[in-house]
Symmetry: C2
């Protein structure tokens, strides 16, 4: 049994080797922000870095910056930095477009690489855009291709002779449940399928080793634990062994081997560059780089260790302090099976979360009944975790969440 007092939380913070990183972020005073899984906080370095790109590079050097400041390679150099966080090699990751667009193109890439097989298998309740885009890609491709969405428990059993690709999200956005990336990849590949991992809710918070798993493809999001800002560019990974044959259906000029020859015929660049299409957003890449640099400095294994301690602590606080109020842990109890957020279900979860937000504890709600609490180990303190659990207890005790104002749903990503 831990010391569950507020002083106990402060003692944990005092002993936290990552505690100095919090100062690197802008965080409003008196706000407990537990929604870094939706939108990461603002690094203090972001505006400085963007300011340099805008004032000096764009403003002074103008179009010459594509070479003078190596803008042209920013999707690759930033990709190499992210590669370090997910067990990929240099040249296997590129920053481009959005997670949705990257999913779309890599589903098509996989269909082309596995042409005898007709099906993409994914999981019911996967992050919605993954399912929408996957169906969009198989419908567009046509020729008998289809997306098959099956219950989580049956996913691997459904990977069979007709499966071209298995598309899964490593850490589940709602429950935080985490797949064994190595085991699932191996098993699906043994059945002849390629595997595409969505790392949006993993990268920057839990260890990922794509090459240890011999993964084929991955995508991920820049605006959650990488703190790249709202709608930050996304990234994609394609294993080196596929580069020679893997194509990009959205074959735009920045993926061309010589984009500035302005020829009518497309010839893909060697390697990961071919997965570019349009002109990369240099300002958005710059903001993302500020966030990624902090994660690299903190190191994923230290972030993961702190995240585990925080989520264990939160579960213990809630289950001790809020017993009898109808909360159900909606995340795996085994810390090794979950990501960096913890979810509790409650029939009035929406109203309870609104009440918490009014009390300056920001988590979020996911249909139908799940309250998510995201622990971003770069800037979340153990005292924040304590306050969140304590406010949850107070809200539940007051039953203020039954206020009819809270019945209205609001859009929050």
């Amino acid at each position: 049994m831990s010391d569950l007092s507020r002083d106990g939380a402060r003692a944990l913070d005092a002993a936290d080797e990552l505690r100095g990183f919090r100062e690197r972020f802008v965080l409003p005073p008196d706000l407990v922000y537990l929604d870094g899984i939706s939108l990461g906080a603002l690094p203090r370095s972001t505006l400085v870095q963007i300011g340099r790109v805008i004032d000096r590079e764009w403003g002074c050097d103008l179009v010459r910056s594509w070479n003078a400041h190596d803008w042209i390679n920013s999707p690759l150099t930033l990709g190499d930095k992210i590669a370090e966080l997910i067990g990929a090699a240099a040249g296997e990751v590129v920053v481009t477009d959005t997670t949705s667009v990257n999913l779309f193109r890599l589903v098509l890439t996989a269909l082309e690489l596995n042409p005898e097989r007709l099906e993409v298998v994914s999981e019911a309740g996967n992050f919605p855009t993954d399912l929408y885009v996957c169906r969009g890609a198989t419908d567009t491709y046509g020729r008998g291709r289809r997306t098959r969405v099956v219950p989580r428990a049956e996913v691997l059993d459904c990977v069979g002779e007709s499966t071209a690709l298995l598309l899964l999200t490593h850490v589940h956005y709602r429950t935080s449940e985490m797949y064994d990336l190595v085991a699932v990849t191996r098993e699906a590949q043994a059945r002849g399928a390629l595997v595409l991992w969505d790392l949006s809710h993993s990268v920057g918070a839990v260890p990922v080793d794509l090459n240890a798993a011999q993964a084929d493809f991955a995508v991920g999001c820049g605006y959650k634990y990488l703190n790249g800002g709202p709608g930050a560019p996304a990234f994609l990974f394609v294993a080196n062994r596929h580069h020679a044959r893997a194509g990009n259906a959205i074959c735009g000029w920045h993926g061309h081997v010589r984009p500035f020859d302005f020829t009518d015929d497309y010839e893909p660049a060697p390697g990961i560059r071919r997965f570019l299409a349009g002109t990369p957003s240099i300002i958005a890449n710059s903001a993302l780089e500020a966030g990624v640099d902090i994660v690299r400095e903190a190191r994923v294994e230290r972030l993961d260790a702190k995240s585990r301690r925080m989520s264990e602590y939160f579960i213990e606080l809630v289950e001790t302090g809020c017993a009898g109020y109808g909360l159900t842990l909606a995340s795996p109890r085994d810390v090794s099976q979950r990501g960096s957020h913890v979810s509790f279900a409650h029939p009035h979860g929406y109203a309870i979360m609104q009440a918490l937000i009014e009390r300056s504890v920001i988590g979020d709600f996911r249909e139908p009944d799940v309250m998510r609490f995201g622990f971003a180990p770069l800037y979340t303190r153990f005292e924040d975790v304590w306050i969140a659990a304590n406010e949850l207890r107070l809200v539940l005790a007051q039953k203020g969440w039954q206020d009819p104002r809270f019945a209205v749903r609001a859009a929050v990503t």
Copy 2:
């Protein structure tokens, strides 16, 4: 015959009703920047606007800003502002992704809307990404669909019973030649084809009236005459009459009618919102908005009038001052048939342009032999035009452009 002296240029500037707008941009002293057609200059308001979005909205209000600062609607509200510049109605334009991705998705949209027809017709020498992406889209769709690339002079003749879509760029990136958007649209539609216009080299510089032309689709670029910054988000237009039936193959969650219900099944939002896919970049949209607001304030018809005067003036200066040096006007002589840039061809065009750049006159070069001079009427002065023509004369007279250093090609967008 005009007054072709430098004082004459200064007199034109003194009489220019748009002259005050130049101060709204950051421009290095002593630089003559004639490449706004590749990357527009930096508005002074951009960093202020981005700073507000980053510091106050992202930094303080964090994830709540999706509602509190209406981030969720920024692709549409910004789209409505761009709509004013291109003769579209509110709700017909959305800011999203890149021009390449938007071309890809709208080619697919058109194939679905015109299902009995197999071909997309486009023009040899069109902007390369248009051709690359179009072929990528028809190849991906398969089922007999193909991209047919024909010489410019034969484009309309090649629109026939098998043409599902005609894809053209309104102002040609190399020559500045401008299509008659109304006449071409009418003629192609009369033959049963849909028409997709790429407005990348038009928007913000020349008048476009999509609805007067009853155009079907358009895309355009944010980082040229709209001054949205390197790799700014692009936009797309879909005519209202197509909204009920037009689908988006890249059907991501932000195009869903209720994205925050997190349901497994995709149901497109009504109207233009369905053409969104992933999470929009709020920082990049904010930078683009700063640029668009200045164009709206200046008004396209005034920009167009100034642009015409500048390009006429430049041609007169060059043809007077540089006669006998082997330059050939590579743009239409009739001002009503060209956009806001002027191109001259020369066998040593690359070397000459490098020499000009060394002398602080920034234009650009496009294979095989074209020097482009882009006049951005918001910030280009008549005196800049005069200096550019004068430096061109001096370079040609010295033949410094034969220096072998200039034989190396460099990547510049």
